[in-house]
C-alpha cells in the first residue's frame, strides 16, 4: 500500500487514503484515535471480508498488527522456518502472547537440531510438556 492523501480533519475524523501501486485500488482509513483504540480493544478485524472486496486488490482488510516484526527484530530472529500447517496452528494462540510463544517453540526446535517447525515438532513439544 502506498500513502496517497491525508485529508484534513472533518468533524473529528481524519481520512487517510492508501492505494495499491499495482492496480490503483484505493482504501481509506477514516478514524480518530479514540475510536480506533476502542474498536481495536475488542480484538476484532476491521474492514470487509476479503471476499467482499471482490478480488480487486491483494490486501484484504486490516489485520491486527501484533505479529509484525518490529524494527531491529528481524536481524535477531532465530533462523527457523515454519511449514504452512504449523504456521496455521500458530494462529490459534492469542495474538497478545503469540510472538513469545513462537520464539519459545523455535528455541525448542533448535534445541532438537531442527531448522523447521512442522506439526511433528509441535506434537513433540506438547508431549514434552505433558500437555
Amino acid at each position: 500500500m502506498k500513502l496517497q492523501t491525508v485529508a484534513p480533519p472533518d468533524r473529528g475524523s481524519l481520512s487517510i487514503v492508501y492505494s495499491c501501486p499495482a492496480c490503483g485500488y484505493e482504501m481509506a482509513m477514516l478514524t480518530n484515535a479514540y475510536e480506533t483504540q476502542a474498536v481495536q480493544s475488542l480484538g476484532v478485524k476491521i474492514g470487509p471480508a476479503s471476499s467482499e472486496v471482490g478480488g480487486k486488490c491483494p490486501f484484504p482488510g486490516i489485520v491486527p498488527a501484533s505479529d509484525e516484526v518490529k524494527p531491529g527484530q528481524a536481524a535477531e530472529s532465530i533462523p527457523v522456518r515454519w511449514t504452512a500447517a504449523a504456521e496455521a496452528r500458530l494462529s490459534n494462540i492469542p495474538s497478545f502472547v503469540r510472538p513469545m510463544a513462537k520464539t519459545g517453540i523455535e528455541r525448542f526446535a533448535q534445541e532438537r537440531g531442527a531448522t523447521e517447525v512442522d506439526e511433528k515438532i509441535l506434537d513433540e513439544a506438547k508431549e514434552f510438556f505433558g500437555m
Partner: protein
C-alpha cells in the same frame, strides 16, 4: 472517496457479529466445564493466588479435573507457583494446549510467557490515556484466552482474580451468572471492610457468592506444632456470607509455593489439613 460521515453502519466490518461470534466461541470452549469459580477479594495481598492453587491441588488430590486461569494479568503468579514458568503455549489443530502442573492441574498464566522482570504492555493506537481503554484490552485478552485454550472436560475452572472490588464486579459481569465467587479475607478490619464492599457490590448482580475463606488466620508454629495469632484481631470475620473455613499462615508453605511444589507433595500439617477442609466445604457448597 467517501468520508467518515458518509459511511453507513460499520463499513462491512460486522463488529457486533464478530463480538457475538467471540462470545459463542467462549461458550462452546467452556461447554465441558462443570463449575466456574472465581477466587477474588477486593483486597490485595490476602493470598488469593496461593489459596487458589492450594484449593485446586486439594481438589485434584481427590481426583477432580481442575484448571486455573490466572486472570491477574498485571501480577501473574500462578506460573511460578504451579511450576509452569518455563512451559510453552503449544498450538493444536484447533485450540492451544494448556500447560499442566506436576499433579495435572491445567494452568494458564501470562507468567509462562512474560518474564517477571518485564511489565505487561498492550499495543495502543492512541498514545497515552491508557486509563480510558486498558480494562477493555484486558477483558479482550481474557476472552481470547477463554476461546483459544483447550479447557476440555473439567470439574472446576478456577479464576484467580486481580485485586480491586470494582475489578471483581467487572469479572462477574464479563464471566456471566454461571460463575460463582469465593472471597478471601485476612483477620484485619481493613481487609474485612474491603471484602464486605465486594460482597455488597457482587450481591447486586446474579452471581452466586459461595462464601469466604479467612486466610492467614494465625500462623503455624513448627516448634510447638500449634496455631498462634498473627493479627491483633481475635474476633472471627463477620461477613454476611457463609464461611468456608480458615487457613493459618505457614512460612514453609510460602517457601514451597515459590518453588512450585504441588499440593500432593506438601507435608501433612494442620495447614494442609485446613486447606483440605476448605476444599471439601467448597465442593459441598457447589454440589
Amino acid at each position: 472517496m467517501k468520508g467518515y460521515h458518509d459511511i453507513v453502519g460499520d463499513g462491512g466490518s460486522r463488529i457486533l457479529d464478530q463480538v457475538a461470534e467471540q462470545r459463542a466461541q467462549i461458550a462452546d470452549g467452556l461447554a465441558g466445564v462443570r463449575h466456574l469459580v472465581a477466587i477474588g477479594s477486593g483486597k490485595g495481598g490476602v493470598g488469593k493466588s496461593t489459596l487458589t492453587l492450594h484449593l485446586a491441588g486439594a481438589l485434584r488430590a481427590h481426583g477432580l479435573r481442575i484448571a486455573i486461569l490466572d486472570a491477574d494479568f498485571n501480577g501473574p503468579s500462578q506460573a511460578r507457583m504451579g511450576g509452569v514458568q518455563e512451559a510453552l503455549f503449544v498450538p493444536g489443530t484447533k485450540k492451544v494446549a494448556l500447560p499442566r502442573t506436576r499433579d495435572g492441574i491445567g494452568v494458564f498464566s501470562v507468567g509462562s510467557m512474560i518474564p517477571e522482570t518485564a511489565a505487561l504492555e498492550f499495543e495502543s493506537a492512541s498514545q497515552g490515556e491508557a486509563q480510558t481503554w486498558r480494562a477493555t484490552k484486558e477483558f479482550s485478552l481474557l476472552g481470547e484466552i477463554l476461546r483459544s485454550f483447550e479447557w476440555g472436560q473439567l470439574d472446576l475452572l478456577m479464576f484467580d482474580l486481580p485485586p480491586g472490588a470494582e475489578r471483581t464486579v467487572q469479572y462477574a459481569d464479563y464471566l456471566g451468572p454461571a460463575t460463582s465467587f469465593v472471597l478471601v479475607t485476612i483477620p484485619s478490619e481493613v481487609s474485612r471492610g474491603v471484602v464486605a464492599r465486594s460482597v455488597a457490590a457482587l450481591s447486586k448482580g446474579p452471581n452466586r457468592i459461595l462464601g469466604y475463606v479467612e486466610n492467614m488466620s494465625g500462623y503455624y508454629c513448627r516448634d510447638c506444632n500449634g496455631i498462634k495469632p498473627l493479627f491483633d484481631a481475635p474476633e472471627p470475620s463477620q461477613l454476611a456470607i457463609p464461611c468456608l473455613g480458615t487457613v493459618p499462615f505457614d512460612p514453609e508453605l510460602a517457601r514451597r509455593c515459590d518453588q512450585g511444589t504441588p499440593f500432593a507433595e506438601l507435608p501433612d500439617t494442620p495447614v494442609r489439613r485446613a486447606l483440605d477442609r476448605v476444599a471439601q466445604q467448597l465442593l459441598e457448597t457447589l454440589s
